[in-house]
Amino acid sequence: MSQTIAEKLLTRNNLAQAPAHAGDIVEARIDGAMCHYHASEPMRDLALQAGFKDGLPRVWDPDKIFVLVDHHQPALSQKLADENAVIREEVNRLGIRCFHDAEPGISHQMMADYGLMRPGELVVGNDSHTISYGALNSGGTGITRADMFYVLLFGELWFQVPHSIKVVLNGRQRNYPIAKDIILYLAGEYGDDFAGNMSIEYSGSLVPGLSIDSRMCLSAHGVEVGAKFAFFPCDEKTRAFLNGRTDKPYEALAADADASYEKTIVLDVDEMPFVVAKPHQFGNVGPVDDVTGTRINQAQIGSCANGRFEDIEIAARMIKGRKVAKGVRFIISPASQMVYLQCLKAGLIEQLVEAGAQVVTPGCGVCQPRVGFLSDGEVCITATTRNFKGRKGSMKADIYLGGPLTVTAAAVAGEIVNPKQVFDGL
């Protein structure tokens, strides 16, 4: 019987060694587990509650567990410093070998940077944006910390085999990143749960030309539209990216030609306007022209959605020879040290700082109430993951989501504006 990518993956990893069909509950073998700060006290607390009085008694395979101290590096408070110390103890005690400690960055970007997940694998992480690994044809999916507890012990977990949705992206190549606008537009058009519990399979004429950075943005945002997986095909770009990062063999996944889909969405990207998500939901989307003139206090580029080289490159390219508007805080947070270094070597950081931007340490802080709080009545436009009320501190602040180009245009203009009015050559 013909199968989707998700059905093939969960058939391959099904402990019952039986074909997996959409809707089935299966117990599946895990190929890799990404564990961030929850590795510390939360995991210990779960162990105690369950009756393991000395904590987690073992891990199933110390080589398949990747611990990254991402959200809280460097420690932003005494409490977090103490939690990080517990992570170090636990990693030593359990014999986990892959541990990125004294290195700030977002776990998902570092998983890609260091080639820790590969096409065709089932990789779980106790963070919702683990779904971003689908950009590399890897079955990344977020699980909960109590799920992770089970995975760490047994290397297995239950899943419901998802139905699949085909998202066909057609359009011409551009000289600027468009991934954020695509996913926002889809959320606006079809609702912020249009892929609820489903596995997205991206295809279409735009896809071969999409960079890995853009694919990671689209896959990461799979969770904002409810998805369990968000797969891209494994192609030359995927293999080129992985070359030199991993020497382990992998077996990519592709759907059968006559696999069955819950629905198919076709988007002509060339017909799509620049869009933003307005406060306070991801799906509250409209053309940027609807909100032009909205004054801003803060603009941001970063996170597992938009902290990559191409996001920072477009900001630097567009801002060259201009200045950030007076009083606007333009905050850039590269997704990882590797991305940061790449931007530095390309001269992007110099251009941005000269224009008046602030560059902050790689990590998740800029997408949370950690770095760059907002005060009552303030407005922020951001190329990060979420715009929920209170996401940046004040419950009385407004957060707009946009692509890095739209954010940069706003940072220069001091108000939300169509990038075409600020920049030539788009």
């Binding site: 509950i25 117990e27 779960l46 162990a47 509650q49 369950a50 009756g51 393991f52 008694p57 409490k79 106790n126 963070d127 919702s128 977020g142 699980i143 909960t144 910390r145 109590a146 799920d147 507890f149 089970y150 012990l153 047994f154 239950w158 419901q160 912020d192 749960d193 609820g196 519990n197 969770v223 904002e224 409810g226 369990k228 306070h280 939901q281 799906g283 949370q368 109430p369 950690r370 979420r386 929920f388 009320k389 209170g390 996401r391 501190g393 419950m395």
Partner: protein, 169 residues
């Protein structure tokens, strides 16, 4: 603490809309302790909720409940919510609720039979939710046996311990 699926739950309804997000349910970045969380849960939608919620109340919500980050809804149980029942639940919130045995059910159509403040009766074995005021009913979605087993154990870590003990005895 397990989620006893055999028990009929009856309580006053707090009704919320679609896509209630997990930052609002569990704003732990702002309020790291459970005591603080209890004072602030859901205030992004209903500022009066933390003060006025009573033990035994039922939380009814629209589609996509708990979307956003993977944040467990333990605080809702702590403030006394006896049951969450929604049109649909975002997958990570559902996984969190299953793995921590937080009482949660899905019932497409539930928001059409009750209003805020109504009494609702929920009978999982019979797979029925009933508005006390109007007598209108709606069918609940049943969980697969494995999930019912996890609920009965009190959550996935407890389930894991039973398996671990059985395998290492």
């Amino acid at each position: 603490m397990g989620f006893d699926l055999t028990r009929v739950v009856r309580g006053r309804v707090w009704k919320f809309g679609d896509s209630v997000e997990s930052d609002a349910i569990n704003p732990y970045y702002q309020y790291p302790t459970m005591d603080e969380l209890k004072q602030h849960t859901m205030e992004a939608y209903r500022p009066e909720f933390p003060q006025q919620v009573k033990p035994g109340d039922i939380l009814v919500a629209g589609r996509n409940f708990g979307c956003g980050s993977s944040r467990p809804g333990l605080v809702l149980r702590e403030v006394g919510i006896a049951l969450i029942i929604a049109e649909s639940v975002s997958r990570l919130f559902l996984r969190n609720s299953i793995s921590r045995a937080i009482p949660i059910l899905m019932a497409p159509g539930i928001t059409s039979i009750v209003e805020d403040g109504d009494e609702l009766e929920v009978d999982y074995p019979q797979a029925i939710a009933r508005s006390i005021a109007t007598g209108k009913t709606i069918t609940l979605r049943k969980f697969p046996p494995l999930i019912e087993q996890i609920f009965a154990c009190g959550g996935l870590p407890e389930f894991a311990r039973q398996r671990y003990l059985a395998e290492t005895r």
